[in-house]
């Protein structure tokens, strides 16, 4: 058996996510797979002053912003795609409670790449000439901003370019479809920037829909875009992306996405949301009950289900996963 890095969700959050850290989420875009359950845990544990690095806003950042967990954020996109504006994030930005620094979607991927490669900067051929370059929420007095995407000269042609600052988050929590106990992982659907982010982060926690036997990874090593050797911990939490989708596993919960966004629009609604959808559960069973078995069945009946078929034979059953969690070497080492 390979090294066992399985940790319970609450334990992983406790261990790796301190107040004030630069926290990155690895998601498949705004309404794609994101470990939103990890964000719920950060709210439950009362984390403060997080500096969020979200390639795109998701319902997780919407929640963390609304709940006051995050006070600085850098994003390429701050909406919820077809679900409209992210009302929680929007509210605290408009109230001046959260400084939101805007980049583009390519810029964020390149900044993670720069961090992963340990580059001093990344040449920017986008965001230049726009207010993304010239306006900085982190340096509001400076216009045009000179420190956000500073102008540089191409040493070969002399042409003026921009420079992106690289990102090395203190912690990245990445949603994956499948992980083995060591942290070898397969993502189904758009990878978005999870490959670059996994290499840029100082600490890396995976949140997986399913834990599989390592034989699965030996069958498809080309598809293992996150190798276990860079992973600190693996969390199993079914429906961790809810209410967002996880391709191959379940669809987006449209009704809850709308309800969540509506409630996060006000402070009072946010308290209600936290009470009803975070403090109301502790265990996986209670969480799944909260979503509701009928809803789960409906969401699992996804047109993408077939994408998981090649891997199903290696999925470990729940008893085995919980046994591995209990035997985890990280916990043993700590004890």
């Amino acid at each position: 058996m390979s090294i066992n890095k399985l940790l319970p969700l609450a334990e992983a959050a406790q261990r790796y996510a301190g107040d004030g850290i630069q926290y990155a989420s690895g998601a498949g875009l705004p309404v794609g797979a994101d470990a939103i359950a990890f964000g719920r845990e950060l709210v439950r544990q009362g984390r403060r002053n997080l500096h969020a690095l979200f390639h795109c806003n998701t319902q997780q950042l919407n929640l963390l912003a609304a709940a006051g967990t995050v006070d600085k954020a850098e994003v390429g996109f701050s909406g919820l795609e077809g679900f409209g504006f992210a009302n929680g994030l929007r509210r605290v930005v408009e109230e001046g409670k959260l400084a939101l620094e805007d980049y583009s979607n390519l810029a964020m991927a390149l900044r993670f790449l720069g961090g992963a490669l340990n580059w001093p900067f990344v040449p920017a051929t986008t965001c230049i000439g726009s207010d993304i370059q010239q306006r900085s929420a982190f340096a509001p007095e400076e216009y045009p901003a000179t420190g956000k995407i500073p102008e540089i000269a191409d040493p070969f042609s002399g042409r003026t370019l921009g420079a992106y600052s690289p990102l090395k988050p203190d912690l990245a929590v990445i949603h994956v479809t499948l992980a083995d106990p060591e942290g070898n992982a397969i993502m189904i659907g758009s990878e978005w920037s999870r490959f670059e982010l996994s290499r840029a982060a100082k600490r890396l926690v995976l949140v997986a829909d399913h834990i599989v036997d390592t034989d699965c990874m030996r069958q498809y090593p080309n598809l293992v875009r996150i190798p276990g050797l860079i992973v600190d911990a693996v969390v199993w939490w079914p429906f961790s992306a809810w209410p967002a989708a996880s391709p191959g596993v379940h669809d987006v919960d449209e009704a809850h996405t709308k309800l969540m966004n509506e409630w996060l629009a006000t402070e009072e609604g946010t308290f209600r949301y936290i009470d009803r959808y975070i403090f109301s559960y502790q265990t996986v069973d209670a969480y799944l009950n909260l979503i509701g078995q009928d809803v789960i069945s409906k969401l699992e009946d996804s047109p993408t289900r077939f994408l998981l078929d090649p891997y199903r034979q290696w999925i470990l059953d729940r008893a085995k996963v919980e046994q591995l969690q209990a035997e985890n070497h990280i916990l043993k080492r700590a004890a």
Binding site: L29, F77, T125, C127, G129, D131, E191, A245, R305, F306
Partner: protein
């Protein structure tokens, strides 16, 4: 596997069976006009929302060889079940032939200069085709933002990949509902660059891409003047007029001498669009 490549349920009523003239909404006209901007065989990237419908309409109607992609790195897909909630939505992921990611789609394919055309949306657009999707500032305090960055009165969605598409695609088509509050002399914030201050301003920054070739709206089509790059009215629709377009434009909109009514949608176009827009997003009254 058969469910995987599920075909669309064709809930659109047969237009041929309808009595009287062909009926279509303003939004449908906009999507069809935008779709006509994409030529068969082009490498095309579609932004979230109505641009997805316009893009996949083009593929369905006249561009079987359009090589379509979204910035999520979802290639070879055809949406099922209606407008995807996002560019990585399961409605697209259900039949893609390749999943990659943002660096590949927006970097290797767009920033490199390979993409022929990008379709993007806008909350605000100005006479040089600059797009604002970031925020609305209080105009009573001057023209939006001053020398100090202040939080917007209304925060919007940010640039997403539209800035990268506007910077890198050979040409960009902007889709936007035509209202005076959206068509402003100068946008509050340039989220995605058009021709900046006009003329050859883009050359100062050495953008890889060429800039917007058209602003396709619910009332007509605007195109840039070859030298000044100011957007002029190029065409209006069967249900709109030069006067109406000008009244709904916040700058003194000039009209090309050749401006005329564009061909109304054909039955085949409306049917193709409704096969893509299964849930009727474009037929909803605002």
């Amino acid at each position: 596997m058969s469910t995987a490549t599920a075909t669309r349920t064709d809930s659109a009523p047969e237009a041929a069976e309808r009595k009287g003239p062909l009926r279509y909404s303003r939004q449908e006209m906009m999507a069809i006009a935008a779709g006509r901007e994409i030529k068969d065989g082009e490498l095309a990237i579609f932004g979230v929302g109505l641009s997805l419908l316009a893009g996949y309409f083009a593929q369905e109607h006249h561009g079987p060889n359009i090589r379509s992609m979204t910035e999520g790195g979802i290639y070879g897909a055809t949406p099922i079940g209606g407008l995807p909630w996002g560019i990585e939505c399961n409605r697209l992921s259900a039949n893609a032939t390749s999943f990659t990611g943002g660096l590949d789609a927006l970097g290797f394919l767009v920033a490199s200069g390979r993409v022929d055309v990008g379709l993007i949306g806008a909350a605000q657009v100005d006479k040089f085709g600059n797009v604002n999707t970031t925020g609305i500032w209080d105009r009573s305090k001057g023209n939006g933002l001053g020398d100090t960055y202040t939080p917007p009165k209304t925060r919007l969605t940010g640039a997403g990949g539209a800035n990268d598409i506007a910077s890198g695609a050979k040409r960009t088509v902007i889709m936007v509902t035509h209202e005076a509050k959206r068509f402003v002399d100068k946008v509050d914030y340039i989220s995605s660059p058009g021709y900046l201050e006009g003329g050859d301003a883009r050359a100062r920054y050495g953008f890889v891409g060429g800039g917007p070739s058209a602003i396709v709206t619910t009332l007509g089509i605007l195109r840039p003047h070859p030298e000044t790059k100011e957007f002029w009215l190029d065409a209006y629709y069967p249900f709109s007029s030069v006067d109406e377009v000008r009244a709904q434009t916040g700058w003194d909109l000039k009209v090309f001498r050749h401006a005329s009514m564009i061909a109304p949608p054909t039955v085949a176009e409306v049917e193709a669009l409704r096969r893509v827009d299964v849930t009727g997003m474009l037929r909803r009254e605002k």
